[in-house]
Symmetry: C2
Subunit: 374 residues, 2 copies
């Protein structure tokens, strides 16, 4: 009995997950090459200017004469235009691929549908829509950035079962367990920027870097993550960040967003850049800030911040996805709230959909996303 198209597409999606560490601004696409119900090779998007998933997968086939007549499973429609690399459809055609199975069409106007039509014109059988919903969720950051100018905004939160992130005193080490904190490290590695607020910088002196221990990356992912550390960004209206702040140091670059006229200390490291953003009644214009991150190619924006910045994002309806670690402890009614947004009625509050719930060590991780965004 041969495996289903869905089976192979799930392998392609798993390969795509490995691309998250370095693919931005390109989407984290995965691909497998299959012949006679046998896996010939796996591939995933490489950094800008290097092979896309399909080309990488074909290059991994041990005996290249096997490729003719094979089926390629790919999570996103192969590109048909010459960008920084030649079109993937040409590579598939010249390799003699017989069949291409695609999860999602590419919303990029330079590709949309034309990749598929060029494959069909070359006599290749094309099937689309296999595992489309799951693959769309994986690629949502890329899709959102193309559509609206900025990527997926995911807010990470570690809280008690009564929705508190710290005691009234500020004490918060540790609410969640070591496994949950290791899980966060993997999300950092697979995001394209980590955004925090000046409040967290001042209170916790957070570094927002990957820690060599207590992460759950394998050796290969760890090496790739270290080679391209996820950039950091600080929302700091009045440029209060001190030049000694840990978030400005280390291998990863840091952008500090400030209001016009605010100036960072002169002795910040060279890897730090200041970006001026317009202000609104409630602080920096967060949408403008996100658009700037979108222009830099960030598909996946991970927010690790305190109640003020998270509250502002929630108040503005800018949060696409929540990544909530719920610890089995009750911190009490005077402990710090998860965020500072307020709503006059239930109807005005933002509704989400549960995507997953998993036990991570002693805690439950709940992911939920905005109903309107993938």
């Amino acid at each position: 009995m041969s495996h289903s198209d869905e089976y192979w597409m799930r392998l392609a999606m798993a390969a795509g997950h490995r691309a998250r560490i370095w693919s931005a601004p390109n989407p984290a696409v995965g691909c497998v090459v299959v012949k006679d119900d046998r896996l010939l090779a796996t591939g995933f998007t490489h950094p800008v200017g290097e092979p896309h998933a399909e080309v990488h997968a074909i290059s991994q086939v041990a005996d290249i004469t096997d490729v003719a007549g094979a089926t390629v499973y790919v999570t996103l429609e192969p590109c048909s235009h010459t960008g920084r690399t030649p079109p993937c459809v040409d590579a598939l055609i010249s390799a003699g691929i017989a069949r291409v199975v695609i999860a999602c069409e590419d919303p990029d106007p330079r590709v949309s549908g034309s990749g598929i039509s060029r494959l069909t014109a070359a006599g290749i059988e094309v099937l689309r829509g296999v595992c489309e919903a799951e693959a769309s969720h994986d690629l949502a950051g890329f899709f959102l950035r193309l559509r609206r100018g900025y990527g997926r905004v995911t807010v990470k939160m570690a809280m008690s079962a009564d929705g508190r992130t710290a005691m009234a005193s500020g004490e918060s080490q540790w609410i969640t367990g070591v496994e949950a904190r290791a899980d966060v490290q993997a999300w950092r590695a697979s995001s394209d920027v980590i955004l925090t607020g000046i409040g967290s910088v001042e209170a916790d002196d957070c570094a927002l870097t990957l820690r060599p221990c207590a992460n759950r990356l394998d050796a290969d992912d760890w090496e790739r993550a270290m080679a391209r550390p996820t950039p950091r960004a600080v929302v700091d209206t009045n440029a209060r960040t001190k030049s000694t702040a840990r978030v400005l140091h280390g291998d990863a670059q840091t952008t500090v967003f400030t209001a016009p006229g605010a100036a960072l200390p002169l002795d910040v490291p060279k890897s730090v850049s200041q970006q001026v953003v317009a202000t609104t009644d409630s602080g920096l214009d967060l949408q403008q800030l996100l658009m700037w991150l979108g222009e830099q190619g960030a598909n996946e924006i991970l927010v690790e911040a305190g109640a003020t910045l998270v509250g502002s994002l929630e108040q503005a309806g800018l949060i696409d996805q929540w990544l909530i670690y719920v610890a089995p402890v009750m911190l009490g009614a005077d402990a710090r709230p998860a965020h500072r947004a307020t709503f006059a009625s239930l109807e005005q509050a933002n509704r989400y959909s549960i995507i997953s719930h998993d036990l991570i060590g002693d805690d439950v991780r709940i992911t939920m996303r905005q109903k309107i965004n993938a």
Copy 2:
């Protein structure tokens, strides 16, 4: 290939779940009779004075001549004393049962170990400890009541993902979905008393009864639940409950706990009784109140109350189990907190263990229990 002892014990546990509706003060025990790897019958504890699980199961075997040489799986050690019914061990011996598999020993000092030794003395093979952890969790309310005088205290809470139970205005209909509310109905049916506070009575005029629609009981359980509606209890220090309050009406009995000297209205229904409890600095003595419920035979105490009563229970460390329905919505920092307990440091906060996490409709249900209590 024959089924494992664990397989049959899980069937016995499932049968035990059906007993929850009416077994108190007896434990909700389940039993199956098996011969030649074939299920002969299922049984579970009946109301006080009626058959225990083992006797019920044996009575359900279609051809009574089959019973000789059969194996009985039972979640609790069979009783060896004459209470309101004859000892179950006698029934097992006289039926010619060859083997008895037991999940938990009975901590009741009138039984503990002696049920097993009488079976062994009669030449019956006994195996104990199969699925003990799971069965102990099922029977924890009974075990706790025997050990400390009152049953398991389970607090139900329907809250937002930021730990809020209502908007600042009090608006709370509906935070969780229809499936979660139906699930709560089943917990009401399988509890031995539903405890609330005067705040909830005044704010919501809650009835705390089973609703004929929107529950997930099957026809048989529904009929049994209707025949023996779960009693209600109100914590009402100053006897403010009005005689028209819905919680005082309907088929279920209601106990109103008050401070000494407080008097209920004269025109409350006959099914309502007042119970005077000593006071402490922070209101009624909740431990004394729970002990009284224990004396009435309540193994499972379900608390459906507001932030004040839940906070008092949490502050006193009296909550054994939480049943939390988390809705994927954020209600905001000025919305009402889950409870009013406060703690000076993380170390003082009560830690629990996650028991389960399940999607119930659009919401996630998390159960967690105190580490020290089963």
